[in-house]
């Protein structure tokens, strides 16, 4: 079924209340830490207190004598017996060489490379005993100078023997010579330097893992806070433990937020499985918040220089971008892909920029590994594009609206110079709608009113585009992905007509149980309450790739739609038999199967029953049962986009930035549940504003210690930091999936930061401030004003 027909179905576009919320708000969710097995034992990890050091000895003897301690594992116990944690992507460098890919053992063997790296694992009878015992493990470190700053990485001591200059890769995309040629013809060149600040994700539920083992069958079960349990199983079995998939079941039950930080296979996941197999007992670990700060993957951390060449009318001719990116100490699962294919391929933005060349130097540093964080690469891209575009306008005396409008892509499909082909969109319309919702017409009055109070007011635009719905396996394979990126869906109609859906995607707050039930209810006419969505258990769901990159509805929903096609087709055949008509004459609408042009009909429930009680059934040509699985590999990415407008008021005396209004107009294609989409936009914008104004993961340059290791110093956004958002949508249906949806999970975090910073700079320009880095905290804003005066 195609998008055009689908949008008119019942429940599509309806804000159905989240069916999962009843269990969450009554405290009946089932999270990993809630799971307690008979004979449960507990693990705690000794973590490196040094950012960079040789490990000269780990003395566990005193700790082994502590009450309740069962066993202590160190790097020595695993060396040579267990594979390292693999990276999911291979990046080929500009000179054709493969990226440097050092090993990452789950316990440090001869060296530690970031503060928080696991050095030893204590297993004890209780959590308290395990945590008390780790303090008695004596680790001898021979400290080395840490590498913290990417700009100094090349000359610092090497983290890994494989990468003597600490560079993992130098990678490029686009036509370098074409860009150079275009720059020679430019009437004006705008340049910018910017930092995309390091984020620490801080999902509400800290990471946790609990592994059980059956010596009788040789099977392990790992309960873990994962966004993609099948991927965990695949990497754990194929690369790390080297056991068949049949010997490991991975369950990601209710998970309280991921934001990319839970797509990784983590050392602790491997640790508990290893320990439970070695000790033949269930072993559980739950992160403390302070461990999360140190050991969850962090996000972003790009240092970028960009230059835009324009003709005299402000038409873009070419964009040249160079980024130094911080990968942290080791390659995380998606680590190498995020600052390359998920970043530079979006640098065309919404604009006809005929030539584009981007180069990325990716560095190892003595900091926590960096991986995807809500938006993963695309926020970094939109920040470069939308900051430089606004600056181009300012330098040429064009408004933020005008510089964008002059350069918008208006014809689709559109092939960018950096691999992407946008299928649909309507950027001018998004901009128009945003201008209206934001009441840009009366901005000058508001600016004057602020000035009368001694405050500065500014307005900032961001017209972002991103790529979601990962994603065509063939393309991502060419780009270095080591896995396919299709999705699976099984629709199992039960004998009485209720429906169980099995999806390879994973919900960790998004509301799949509601949205996917809406798809089934729309197509089969069953009540939403009679649809159950199952996800997160490799023993129950077909092989799938999990949830990240806003792919669940577009790709996972696509698979369910294909399975529903098969269900409908088979149901029609059964109905044709029961109604004594031909298959082609059966129409399926609102749960009824009708013989075209007659009043002969049968309900879907009766068909389901006939499929499972096939007394009167065409057994010679049709199998009994009504249970179909489909895999969907989309032909292209999806391209959500839109315009965000932020208005800020700044107190120049203190540097405090207040967001007065924030407007979002997004094109997400077809929307199944507007309430869920609003929720995604709210959360994404909140995180984007957090990045722009509040959040930054900071390591001490000399000591390599994480200075923002708790909520005392790492500023999480709070409701008080925000106004109510003004939200609008534009719909150009996506052409690469049956629903027509584009994905809404990350847009807010992608679109918001440049809108905020452009607004801050718009407000501060009259004070002589030309630049500011995120987060624009009161201190940073005051410093910028103070320095401009000096």
């Amino acid at each position: 079924m195609g998008a055009n027909e689908f949008v008119n179905k019942p429940h599509i576009g309806e804000s159905v209340r989240r069916v999962e919320d009843a269990r969450f708000i009554t405290g009946q969710g089932n999270y990993v830490d809630d799971i307690v097995e008979a004979g449960q034992k507990y693990a705690a990890f000794v973590r490196s207190t040094y950012p960079h050091a040789r490990l000269t000895g780990v003395d566990t003897s005193a700790a082994e004598e502590m009450p309740g301690v069962i066993r202590i594992f160190t790097g020595k116990d695993i060396a040579g017996k267990c594979g390292g944690l693999p990276a999911g992507w291979m990046i080929v460098q500009v000179d054709g060489a493969p990226m440097k890919e050092p090993q990452r053992p789950f316990l440090a063997i001869d060296k530690v490379r970031y503060v928080g790296e696991p050095v030893a694992m204590v297993v004890a009878d209780t959590k308290e005993q395990a945590q008390n015992a780790i303090e008695s493990v004596m680790v001898d470190y021979d400290p080395l100078d840490p590498v913290i700053d990417v700009h100094k990485a090349a000359n610092g001591p090497a983290l890994h023997a494989e990468a003597p200059d600490n560079r993992c890769y130098k990678w490029g995309i686009g036509d370098k010579a074409g860009v150079d040629a275009a720059f020679t013809k430019a009437a004006h060149i705008t340049k910018i330097d910017l930092i995309n600040n390091r984020m620490i994700p801080n999902a509400m539920e800290p990471r946790a893992a609990n592994a059980t083992f059956s010596r009788a069958t040789g099977e392990s079960t790992l309960y873990t806070t994962s966004q993609n349990p099948h991927l965990v199983r695949l990497l754990m079995c194929a690369n790390i433990l080297q056991i068949p998939e049949t010997k490991l079941r991975v369950v990601a039950p209710d998970v309280g937020g991921g934001f990319g930080s839970k797509i990784n296979v983590y050392p602790e996941d491997v640790g508990v499985v290893w320990a439970s197999r070695a000790l033949n007992c269930p072993v559980k670990w739950t992160a403390e918040r302070s461990e999360s700060f140190l050991s969850d993957t962090h996000g972003r951390d790009h240092h970028t220089h960009a230059e835009m060449a324009m003709d005299k009318d402000g038409h873009f001719l070419a964009l040249r971008v160079h980024s130094d990116v911080n990968l942290g100490a080791y390659l995380a699962t998606f680590g190498p892909a995020v600052p390359t294919y998920m970043y530079a391929t979006l640098l065309a933005g919404q604009y006809k920029t005929p030539q584009l060349y981007a180069e990325v130097d990716a560095w190892f540093t003595n900091t926590a590994p960096v991986d995807a964080y809500r938006g993963a690469g695309r926020p970094e891209a939109s920040y470069v594009v939308e900051r430089i575009v606004t600056r181009c306008g300012w330098e040429l005396g064009l408004s933020q609206d005008e510089i964008r409008r002059r350069n918008f892509i208006t014809e689709y499909p559109y092939q960018t110079p950096v691999a992407m082909q946008y299928d649909t969109g309507d950027w001018p319309k998004c901009l128009d709608e945003a201008n209206k919702l934001a009441e840009v017409d009366s901005f000058d009055q508001r600016r004057k009113a602020s000035e009368a109070k001694g405050l500065r007011r500014g307005i900032g635009y961001s017209s972002y585009v991103e790529a979601c719905g990962m994603g065509p396996s063939r393309i991502v394979g060419q780009l270095g992905a080591r896995a396919g990126l299709y999705e699976s869906g099984e629709v199992r109609v039960n004998p009485t007509g209720s429906v169980t859906v099995f999806t390879g995607t994973h919900s960790h707050g998004q509301g799949h149980e509601t949205a996917f039930a809406q798809l089934v209810a729309a197509r089969l006419g069953v009540a939403i309450e009679n649809v159950e969505v199952v996800h997160g258990d490799t023993n129950r769901i077909p092989f799938g790739m999990g949830t990240y990159g806003s792919r669940s509805l577009a790709v996972g929903g696509g698979a369910i739609m294909k399975a529903l096609d098969k269900i409908e087709e088979k149901a029609k055949k059964i109905a044709a038999h029961l109604l004594e008509a031909s298959d082609a004459d059966i129409e399926f609408e609102n749960g009824q199967l009708t013989v075209k042009g007659t009043d002969k009909k049968i309900s879907f429930g009766e068909v389901a029953l006939a499929a499972y009680v096939p007394h009167n059934y065409p057994l010679e040509k049709l199998e009994p049962g009504l249970d179909e699985t489909a895999f969907f590999d989309p032909p292209n990415f999806t391209f959500p986009g839109g315009t965000y407008i932020c208005e800020v008021e700044i107190d120049p005396a203190t540097g405090v930035v207040t967001i007065d209004r924030f407007t979002c107009v997004d094109d997400f294609g077809v929307i199944v549940n507007p309430m869920l989409v609003d929720g995604q936009v709210h959360g994404g914008v909140m995180q984007g504003i957090g990045q722009a104004l509040l959040e930054e993961g900071v390591y001490d340059q000399e000591t390599g210690q994480l200075l923002t290791g708790s909520f005392m110093d790492y500023t999480m956004p709070r409701a008080i930091n925000l106004p109510n958002f003004r939200i609008g949508t534009v719909c150009t249906p996506c052409t690469s999936n049956p629903i027509g949806s584009k994905g809404a999970g990350e847009a807010g975090a992608i679109g918001a930061p440049p809108a905020v910073i452009n607004a801050v700079l718009d407000a501060l320009k009259p004070l002589g401030v030309n630049d500011i880095d995120m987060p624009a905290t009161p201190f940073h804003v005051w410093t910028a004003i103070h320095n401009a005066k000096a």
């Binding site: 959590k127 308290e128 945590q131 008390n132 303090e135 403390e288 302070s290 005396a653 203190t654 540097g655 509040l694 900071v698 200075l707 923002t708 909520f711 005392m712 110093d713 790492y714 500023t715 999480m716 905290t777 009161p778 201190f779 005051w782 410093t783 103070h786």
Partner: protein, 266 residues
């Protein structure tokens, strides 16, 4: 770490019993909002906690002559909501309402906050600017002598605070500029005008609450924001961290103090 080391727990019902236990080495426990957190982080590991929460004479708010008296175990929320405090020293009620969040205000106590003397805590600014007296089980200590920089006070081993006595000013105001992450004071300024003097106390500067005597002198002559607009603050005495350099803190002291004076003027 979220696990506490094992400890003994006592909950005496009289001040005398509490003092006896504490003098024998027990650690006073008030709202636990600082102490329990530091025990979770294994920064403190007392072997005995003496919970002061069951001693009636340590709780309560009353006006006594020309003083406002607040028992050590009175929680921030009770101070914020008290009509007695709101009438006598409205700035003090407003200050209490700015501490942490609802949960913190319902647990944390004035005695615990004062004994702890966090360099970014709010109450110390009020005590110092109002010239309060700290009553312990054995003596009375003037605020000027009590706060001795960064988490240190005049309290001796085994000594507990029983109440705080505040002189009532003609007018006063507290303005707090929060550190964005913790929402403790990056800079907080308490200004109090008495018949014969003006006192200004600054918290959040880094090494503990202090009086701003230059501002006091200027305000004694002319109680207006303009009077202190050009009064300098010693930059070197303030600290620098992620959330603000000492220059920024010094600048904030000036801006926030002017706002406090404007606030006191009403």
């Amino acid at each position: 770490m979220s696990t506490l080391y094992a400890f003994d727990y006592e909950r005496p019902t009289t001040q005398a019993d509490a003092v006896r236990l504490i003098q024998a080495g027990g650690r006073p426990l008030a709202g636990g909002q600082t102490l329990i957190a530091s025990m979770k982080l294994h920064l403190a590991s007392p072997s005995q906690l003496v919970d002061l929460g069951a001693i009636p004479e340590l709780v309560g708010i009353r006006k006594q002559g020309d003083e406002l008296v607040i028992g050590a175990m009175t929680c921030h929320r009770d101070v914020a909501e008290s009509t007695v405090v709101r009438e006598a020293i409205p700035a003090l009620a407003a200050l209490a309402d700015l501490i942490g969040d609802k949960q913190i205000r319902s647990m944390g106590t004035i005695g615990g906050s004062v004994a702890n003397n966090d360099p970014a805590a709010d109450y110390p600014a009020a005590l110092l600017a109002l010239g309060a007296t700290i009553h312990t089980a054995s003596r009375k200590i003037a605020a000027d002598d009590f706060f001795q920089g960064l988490f240190s006070t005049a309290l001796e081993e085994g000594e507990i605070i029983t109440a705080i006595h505040f002189p009532i000013p003609q007018r006063a105001a507290y303005v707090k500029f929060p550190q964005p992450a913790s929402l403790f004071a990056l800079i907080g300024v308490f200004v109090a005008q008495f018949r014969k003097s003006v006192r200004v106390a600054v918290t959040g500067g880094g090494s503990g609450v202090f009086r701003h005597t230059a501002m006091e002198a200027a305000l004694s002559r002319d109680f207006s924001p303009a009077a202190i607009a050009n009064v300098a603050t010693d930059v070197e005495s303030l600290s620098s961290d992620l959330h603000g350099s000492n220059a920024y803190r010094a600048h904030l002291v000036s801006v926030i103090a002017q706002r406090a004076v404007a606030g006191a003027q009403g």
